[in-house]
């Protein structure tokens, strides 16, 4: 899947893109078998752009983000492939080297701010610590910077709130503090793993606006990991749809939402009730449930749930479809023929959405 995705062969040492992920594989050997959480994922991302990674639970999207930051457990995870961040390779680097990149070059906003902040340290202390590791400054300077960052993310009275503990913040404020911490060293790559899932809609809208504004200000590359198609549509330039540890569709936001080509993407769009359309009588769910990553179906991982699998003369069950470019910048991994896909989308799927 990778070779036809990147123009250069995998061994090419000088990537042109800011972030270049090539054939990333993250496997976990367990007693029950090998869990292939990420199995051959490749994509590139430039600064100032946003990539949305969409998928259900267990599709490998969060493991991807941990792998990018080198946060996976090195004892039980087997990582292969290459991750180039601004000309520096992550997978082959020592933990010490990755630690120096983390925070400064790349940083992460986690889903649950309450469990990803230390409850016994003040918000300020946690931001100051991160800042002082990467910058040789005095405590006072770092504190001023922390207050400044808290103010930038919209926390009222940051000079007072800097000495509060995480439990004294509300959910939305905690997520803002988390963003302030992630941005304190001006990272060039920001990974947001379900940043708004735990929040209410009105707060979610505030946080999404904030991420968008800060991205413009810092010109960073953003990876937005979520299961909410609405959130990706709001923020992303490009969208990567993951299923069973692999990419099944990649394209610009317009392509994926208006000209989706993979039956799984159709299913996701059909199973979601939408406020911007007339109320439909029935949702169109995808049958079955997501596969276990220990026993990913042979052939196309989506074939047991796919309504069109039988159109492929049995290839769906035997042969894994490669990710192929079908239009500039739009790649799909599906056995269905071009005409079939177009016909099904325009005749069967789109009218029902």
């Amino acid at each position: 899947m990778t070779q036809d995705q990147t123009a250069e062969p995998v061994a090419d040492p000088a990537p042109r893109a800011f972030l270049d992920v090539r054939d990333l594989r993250i496997h976990f050997p367990t007693d029950d078998g090998l869990v292939k959480s990420v199995d051959g994922l490749s994509f590139t991302l430039e600064r100032g752009r946003t990539l949305g990674i969409v998928g259900e639970s267990g599709s490998g999207k969060s493991v991807t983000s941990l792998g990018l930051l080198g946060l996976h457990n090195r004892r039980n995870a087997k990582v292969s492939g290459e991750i180039w961040v601004d000309g520096q390779e992550v997978v082959g680097s020592s933990p010490e080297q990755v630690r120096r990149m983390r925070g400064r070059k790349m940083s992460m906003i986690f889903q649950d701010p309450l469990s990803s902040m230390h409850p016994l340290y003040t918000i300020g202390a946690q931001i100051i610590e991160a800042y002082r590791i990467h910058n040789n400054v005095s405590k006072d300077v770092a504190r001023k910077h922390a207050i400044d960052m808290l103010g930038r993310v919209g926390i009222p009275q940051p000079d007072r709130r800097v000495d509060d503990y995480p439990h004294q913040f509300s959910g939305g404020m905690r997520q803002r503090a988390m963003i302030a911490m992630a941005l304190s060293c001006d990272p060039e790559l920001l990974i947001a793993d379900e940043p708004t899932t735990a929040l209410d809609v009105t707060v979610q809208a505030q946080i999404l606006d904030l991420i968008r504004d800060l991205q413009e200000e810092f010109d960073s590359a953003v990876i937005m990991i979520t299961h909410d198609l609405g959130v990706v549509a709001e923020l992303s330039d490009d969208i990567l749809v993951m299923y069973g540890g692999r990419c099944v569709e990649y394209g610009s936001a317009e392509d994926v939402f208006h000209r989706p080509e993979h039956p799984y993407t159709w299913g996701l769009l059909g199973s979601m009730p939408r406020l911007d359309r007339d109320r439909s009588e029935r949702l169109i769910p995808i049958k079955g449930s997501p596969p276990s990553l220990i026993n990913v179906p042979v052939g196309c991982a989506f074939s047991p749930r796919c309504a069109y699998a039988e159109l492929n003369d049995g290839r769906s069950e035997t042969e894994r479809p490669e990710l192929r470019e079908i239009a500039p910048g739009h790649r799909v991994a599906c056995h269905l023929g071009r005409e079939d896909r177009h016909r099904i989308w325009t005749e069967e799927i789109r009218p029902r959405l």
Binding site: H227, D228, E254, F257, L268, L275, D276, K287, P290
Partner: protein, 366 residues
């Protein structure tokens, strides 16, 4: 403990409570006491989780309750099913006042009044088999089934789309969506009339959500069920609910049929809530007018006086901080509690204000 101005709402008879009303809730309140002191506990305040809510649920309809976390929607649901004791107000189910009915007297009623829980992982006992879990209602209610409990349970499993052969499996062997189906099967065992579903799909993946939503709709048709669906996801509620109530800080601020509420929301909070929902269409990203609310929801320990929303409302005027707007039917089937409603006909706000004043007068004289 009850503030006099919130009594206003309780005096209003809910609209449309004809013969077809299955459940009627009047002036329902739940205040959780906040105590201090280790040995001698004294009450220092109260969390006004639900503070004067009234609505009716008609036979065969689906009422959606939406709102942000902390608005009291779950507490309302738990009071309806009497899992929580109401502090004040009335719950009338099929003409019978069940507000303070004892546990023993409640038990036969539980056949008609069931609940679906949010988290399919914590609402099933991990040490019991699926058969035992779904069969429990039969044993508890002492119901004789024609072909034995096992057969009844297997029929139920089939109804909710699970394999009847999975009778002897344990909950951990099932996925999230399947567990939610088990929860639904357990709820259906007694063929209830009213089901309160508290966030029935929010813990599930998108593709599974649609399956469960469709299942709930099919079951409603098949067994003539009435639902109260509590959810924070506005698009899911729009899809399944006939009427929708919007709650904010323990109050119902708007109650209308689904189309009316989503097409022409009247309360500024509803407007803000709807405009905050991300639209899954990148083409509509630009040029969308957004109402951005500032700050967070105030604490229910010490909610703002009068209209609870006036601290964050862009239309708020002086009156909003002094006179509480009652929930008034401004056009048929559309009730709103706001002095300055949006998308409303001329004089709707004045109608609300007048109702508030009238209620205030009766209060002073009485």
């Amino acid at each position: 403990m009850t503030t006099p101005d919130s009594e206003v709402v309780a005096d209003q008879r809910p609209a449309g409570d004809g013969d077809d009303a299955l459940l009627e809730v009047r002036g329902l309140r739940k205040h959780f006491p906040v105590t201090r002191g280790a040995i001698v506990k004294r009450q220092v305040g109260a969390v006004k989780a639900v503070d004067g809510v009234d609505f009716t649920v008609r036979m065969g309809e689906t009422l959606g309750l939406v709102g942000e976390s902390g608005c009291g929607k779950t507490t309302t649901g738990r009071m309806i099913t009497r899992l929580l004791e109401p502090s004040d107000g009335q719950i009338i189910f099929e003409g019978q006042d069940i507000t303070h009915v004892s546990q023993a007297k409640m038990r036969p009623l539980r056949r008609d009044l069931q609940m679906i829980f949010q988290d399919p992982y914590s609402s099933l006992n991990p040490r019991k088999t699926v058969g035992t879990i779904i069969g429990a209602p039969f044993r508890l209610q002492g119901i004789e089934t024609e072909h034995g409990v096992k057969r009844a349970v297997q029929d139920l499993l089939e109804v909710v789309g699970l394999n009847p052969e999975h009778y002897n499996r344990y909950p951990h062997e099932f996925s999230g969506g399947q567990r939610q189906r088990i929860g639904i099967a357990r709820t259906l065992a007694m063929r209830p009339k009213l089901i309160v579903a508290d966030e029935p799909v929010s813990a599930l993946d998108v593709s599974i959500q649609a399956q469960v939503v469709n299942l709930l709709e099919d079951l409603q048709e098949e067994f003539n069920l009435t639902y109260v669906v509590i959810a924070h996801d506005l698009s899911v509620v729009r899809h399944i609910a006939d009427r929708v109530g919007v709650m904010y800080l323990g109050k119902m601020v708007e109650l209308a049929d689904g189309e009316g509420l989503y097409n022409s929301p009247m309360h500024p909070y509803t407007v803000a809530l709807l405009s905050a929902v991300p639209i899954p269409d990148p083409a509509k990203r630009k040029g969308r007018e957004r109402v951005r609310l500032q700050g967070d929801v105030p604490s229910p320990l010490n909610p703002p006086p009068a209209c609870r929303f006036h601290t964050r409302c862009w239309k708020a005027q002086e009156i909003c901080g002094t006179v509480e707007p009652p929930l008034v039917e401004v056009i048929p089937g559309h009730r709103v509690a706001c002095h300055f409603p949006e998308n409303a006909p001329e004089g709707a706000g004045a109608k609300v204000t007048k109702a508030a004043e009238e209620a205030g007068l009766t209060e002073q004289s009485g």
